[in-house]
């Protein structure tokens, strides 16, 4: 019988990466206790922290060796030995050591991810680091190897057989061991003759039925290795008197306690399967039991309601109409709750993304010599798994930026009359159908002069442009803009806030910046709770209904035709709070015959995506509703200007508009504010 171990690999990878995150968080906690002390200061780590860290590495070691990821197993073995030294106080716990452990954590993560991708070799830098780790610890590792060597050398090959005397302790049964079972195991090794010795049996009234009073003498006449016999007795070696004597006349080497043999189980590790990277795309979610229980309950209620309704339908009388309506109401409620519960399965605490931040803050601030306190709150706020995964990088980038560009050096801060240690506050909370994450620092804020200067220099803004403060602040989101005076290696490299904004709007969310020069910057991310359901504004154009994601809707206007400005050679513009915005006529764009061609008869919906505001001319607003997002690409392909689709209550398909693409369709030179206003 062969069991395919690859089926457990995905679980192993997932839980290993999770364990590494726990380990990292615990290390960072230890590190924060140490802040303010010198890196070489020794301190006493609390046991529970160490246990969590130890357990993480120990589990990875056990799993990786079982599933044949030897590279991972070797590294985690070295790391485990070091951790064991720390636990046993054989090794000083210093801040330096924490840094090394954090690095180990990174290495192990890389190795696990490599294994997941089917790579089973050790990158040179990790190999080097592993050697460094080995040198750090005592003799733990070497001892293990030595012992194995020794065990091997004990075995003799040319023997005639063995005389075994086995006297179990009286209470051997209390460990769940059974002498009869052990003797039977011996018979599997070869032919035996056993003599039962009952001379220590007490008189009947003194017998304790839970004790053993028997002993055995076994004559083993096969030329097998002594370690094989010892193996059979290995579990009970401390619960008996055992003598194994070689049956040759010349050599007699009585041994009362054999050296424990670890060999037999080591040789047979499962070979690493060639195609270990195949399960790569399989994604799974671990769901807490209460969530599943709630679902089961709900489905139960649904079944009951359904039965009730079908009973009514058999005997419809005027009186039962009321009951029927009641039943329908119940069904509606159950369905809604079931939907929420099912969605809830995909929901994870946003902490999964936020927990990566302490490490980044620690690394970046140490590199830059800044002192930073990170306050995180609202980690429990739940968000769809895919949203959390997609926004993680953006969040890290923002926080990295805050430490790098936002916060000042300790000296600068003291000069400005601020506390030496800067603070970054990250807050997550749920507001209606979306989750809001704010990242606020008490640094110097954005330097508007510098931003404007850079933007003009990079030809992103006309030299004579007259921009509001807010418009200047928003320039940081324009592609190709990087405020770093020099590429710092921390947040430079041309990847800027534009990437953040693109990523967030891909998710159907938006990002805003509030700049308080001299006292800090605050970024606000607004994200949809889930990608599977969204709040939409249903609008009608001709005979078709379209959905506009509610998160991108700012306002709807009814604009008399004479208020529309039509600059020569440009597109039509609609006035909106002192700005003139370009607008798209959806019937034109989608080639529909519409009754409404004139703005006076229709409605202009002002939407915003990637900080671009545009208007959309529609016939009328049908209403606002939650829609279930369906992919068009499953059976068709991506359609420009259309993000996804949904199914309306009447079973018809309605398309959900892709506001980002639509906003980019419009020629945006017009959108540069006041200079334009003056011209028109």
């Amino acid at each position: 019988m062969a069991i395919d171990l690859t089926q457990f690999h995905q679980t192993f990878f997932e839980e290993s990466l999770e364990a590494l995150s726990d380990m990292e968080a615990e290390l960072l906690r230890l590190d924060s206790h140490m802040s303010g002390r010198r890196v070489s200061d020794e301190f006493k780590a609390d046991n529970e922290s160490l246990n969590i860290i130890f357990r993480a590495v120990h589990s990875i070691k056990g799993g990786s060796s079982t599933f044949g990821f030897e590279v991972v197993a070797n590294f985690s073995h070295v790391l485990e030995s070091l951790l064991d030294d720390i636990r046993e106080n054989r090794c000083k716990t210093t801040r330096d050591l924490i840094s090394i452990l954090l690095q180990s954590c990174d290495c192990l993560r890389t190795l696990v991810q490599n294994a997941q991708n089917g790579i089973n070799t050790v990158p040179a830098d990790i190999n080097e680091f592993q050697i460094k780790l080995e040198s750090l610890q005592g003799t733990n590792c070497a001892v293990t190897l030595d012992r194995r060597q020794k065990t091997r050398s004990i075995d003799h090959n040319d023997v005639a057989g063995w005389d075994i005397s086995f006297v179990p302790n009286k209470n051997i049964l209390s460990t769940g061991n059974d002498p009869v079972r052990i003797i039977r195991a011996l018979t599997q090794l070869g032919k035996i003759r056993s003599r039962l010795n009952i001379k220590s049996l007490p008189s009947w009234k003194n017998i304790n039925p839970e004790d053993i009073y028997l002993s055995w003498h076994i004559d083993f006449s096969e030329p097998i290795k002594k370690s094989q016999i010892e193996n059979v007795f290995s579990w009970v070696i401390d619960d008996c008197v055992l003598n194994i004597i070689q049956k040759t006349d010349t050599q007699k080497s009585p041994t009362s306690k054999p050296v424990p043999d670890t060999d037999s189980n080591v040789d047979t590790r499962a070979p690493a399967p060639g195609a270990s990277g195949n399960g790569l795309e399989v994604q799974s979610i671990r769901v807490s039991t209460p969530k599943v229980d709630a679902l089961v309950d709900l489905v139960g209620e649904l079944v009951i309601t359904q039965t009730m309704l079908s009973q009514f339908s058999e005997e419809i009388t005027p009186e039962s109409i009321e009951k029927l309506q009641f039943g329908l109401g119940l069904l509606e409620r159950n369905t809604r709750e079931l939907q929420e519960s099912v969605m809830g399965i995909r929901m994870l605490p946003v902490g999964f993304a936020l927990n990566k931040l302490p490490r980044i803050v620690r690394d970046v601030s140490q590199k830059l010599g800044k002192k930073v306190k990170l306050d995180i709150s609202g980690e429990g706020t739940e968000l769809d798994k895919s949203v959390i995964e997609s926004m993680g990088d953006a969040l890290m980038h923002i926080v990295r930026n805050s430490v790098d560009h936002g916060l000042e050096s300790p000296a600068e801060r003291i000069n400005a009359g601020k506390p030496e240690t800067g603070t970054i506050q990250v807050q997550a909370s749920q507001k209606g159908g979306s989750v809001v994450i704010t990242i606020e620092d008490d640094g110097n804020g954005l330097d508007r002069d510098l931003i404007l200067h850079k933007a003009i220099e990079k030809d992103l803004v006309a030299e004579d442009a007259n921009l509001t403060d807010e418009q200047i602040d928003n320039l940081i989101f324009i592609p190709g803009f990087s405020t770093a005076a020099q590429v710092t290696g921390v947040s430079g490299r041309g990847v800027g806030m534009d990437v953040v904004r693109t990523r967030i709007s891909e998710l159907g969310g938006n990002v805003e910046v509030i700049n308080k020069p001299g006292s800090g910057t605050k970024l606000t991310l607004r994200l949809p709770l889930t990608l599977a359901i969204m709040d939409g504004l249903c609008v009608k154009v001709g005979s078709q209904v379209y959905i506009i994601p509610l998160l991108s809707v700012i306002e709807s206007l009814s604009v008399p035709d004479q208020n529309i400005s039509r600059p020569a050679g440009g597109s039509e513009l609609v006035p909106f709070h002192g700005e003139y915005l370009p607008f798209l006529k959806l019937y034109e764009l989608f080639n529909l015959s519409s009754a409404v061609k004139n703005t006076s008869d229709g409605i202009i919906i002002i939407v915003e995506a990637e900080s671009k505001k545009i208007g959309l001319l529609v016939d009328e607003i049908v209403g606002q509703q939650q829609v279930v997002v369906k992919s068009l690409e499953t059976h068709y392909k991506r359609v420009e200007g259309v993000a996804t689709a949904t199914i309306l209550g009447d079973g018809e398909v309605a398309l959900i508009l892709d506001i980002s693409t639509l906003a980019n369709l419009v020629n945006h030179k017009h959108h540069q504010g006041h200079s334009l206003k003056a011209a028109s």
């Binding site: 457990f8 079982t66 061991n177 670890t262 189980n265």
Partner: protein, 120 residues
């Protein structure tokens, strides 16, 4: 068929052991730590128990101690999952009343051999 309780905080190990034993016809109940295992053991009697040592909430050694104090688990085989570097833990669990141990890494065949042996 014999019933076996397996206790491990890592899901992959639990899955591997559970699958192997199920496949061989044993009835398997899984628990993620000592507390869960103890609760399960109190609810119904198992013919054998396989437990990891390092676990949160209640570790394997404490679990053995608790189980041995229950009359119905006085003689039940309890096997510890250990690694070759855990000599002291092995001794400790023996003292707590463990029957024996299985050394990680092990493969499904080895696991079944051991189980067959202790279950007669």
């Amino acid at each position: 068929m014999a019933t076996i309780l397996t206790v491990d905080d890592t899901a992959s190990m639990r899955q591997m052991i559970g699958f192997t034993l199920n496949d061989a016809g044993y009835e398997v109940t899984e628990a993620a730590d000592g507390n869960e295992a103890l609760a399960a053991a109190r609810k119904s009697k198992f013919d054998a128990i396989i437990t990891d040592i390092n676990m949160p909430n209640m570790d394997g050694i404490s679990l053995v101690r608790e189980l041995r104090s229950l009359p119905e688990y006085k003689f039940t085989p309890i096997l510890m999952l250990t690694t070759e570097s855990q000599d002291s833990k092995r001794k400790e669990s023996k003292e707590a009343g463990a029957t024996g141990w299985i050394v990680k890494p092990f493969n499904p065949e080895q696991l079944l051999n051991v189980i067959k042996n202790v279950l007669n």
